[in-house]
Symmetry: C2
Subunit: 220 residues, 2 copies
Amino acid sequence: MTPIGFWFDFASPYGYLMAERIDALAAEHGRTVRWCPMLLFAVLRQLEMPAPMAHAAKRDYMLLDFERSARHLGLPYRHPSRFPVVSPLPGRMFHVLAERDEAAAVVFARAALRAAFRDDQALDDAGFVGTLAARCDTGAARDAGTLLQAAQGDAARAALARGIDEAIGQQVFGSPFVQIDGEPFFGADRLPQIEARLAGRLAPAPVPTRAPNPAPTPKE
Amino acid sequence: MTPIGFWFDFASPYGYLMAERIDALAAEHGRTVRWCPMLLFAVLRQLEMPAPMAHAAKRDYMLLDFERSARHLGLPYRHPSRFPVVSPLPGRMFHVLAERDEAAAVVFARAALRAAFRDDQALDDAGFVGTLAARCDTGAARDAGTLLQAAQGDAARAALARGIDEAIGQQVFGSPFVQIDGEPFFGADRLPQIEARLAGRLAPAPVPTRAPNPAPTPKE
């Protein structure tokens, strides 16, 4: 079976909530998950959509709802003192780790999201991100400096850009965004539907056939 | 205790879903509901926000999600063949009925939403709306023509306009929108949180104190 697609931005509070649940939920139903970091602002710009918190009324609501939604799921949440979170560095570091070991990249992603949304840790702090990545790196066990150098390199930038292009092609207009056999689920609040869908209690929705997505722009 | 506020647009599929659940949920916890129809496009225009389906990627998603979300809640759903639904007439008719009997207006609202989202009935069809309203009218038991005349009158227009002004003042940026003791819940997908909140399993969220809302513009 195709892995479940899990799209997220390291800057996304709701992405953190989904990251805490999706792997266990998939495993319960014999499925695997492909983690796909992206930069939501870049995707939305291409889709000509406003940022989720661009408007005051919705921003006020979301600031209340992040914490409440975490509480409802039984998860700790501390709103970052610097918000929005700056997320290109962890997005590129994910790919540095994933190139050798995808599982290590997922461990890093989960830890980075917790650092941002539980521990008020800035994700544009290179020292922090390098040290965290070194703790997660397996096999080669590179040190923080080596990993950071790779995260600033062309290959890591291109890998994140490819993820963004793929997100645009798949109309991934928010974070988190989950795809189960082509069926899209937007938002941490779709967890009950995702669970019902995986358990076979909710039949697949008819996914409209679209014109084929344009091929991602080559970046390397 | 203050009634739970339930804001909705008669044009809103997710509003229909909430309308099917909110009264029973409130009653289970000894609460009442105040139904507040509004015209979402007018509220969003004032809040300088785009319409929910203004962007293609989100529109495609919502067209899939309306039906799926209904199915997940065990509710029938048939997407209206004319969409978006045109909703000023039922919004005004609600107030014609509510002026004499609020319960009758709620019965009408639930029936009109079912007509739109189960039976593909246009809500700008005056004959249909008048007949439905006459079936719901109590006490005076006015006929369809009398009710329609009232719905086109100044008092009904002003009542709906006041509802819109109140929605703007309360930052009601979507449909459905539920307020429990000042705490906002946006979307039919907040039903699990609303249930937990009413059952005391979810503590009230700290509602930010805002500058007092501007007084609604007098319309009569």
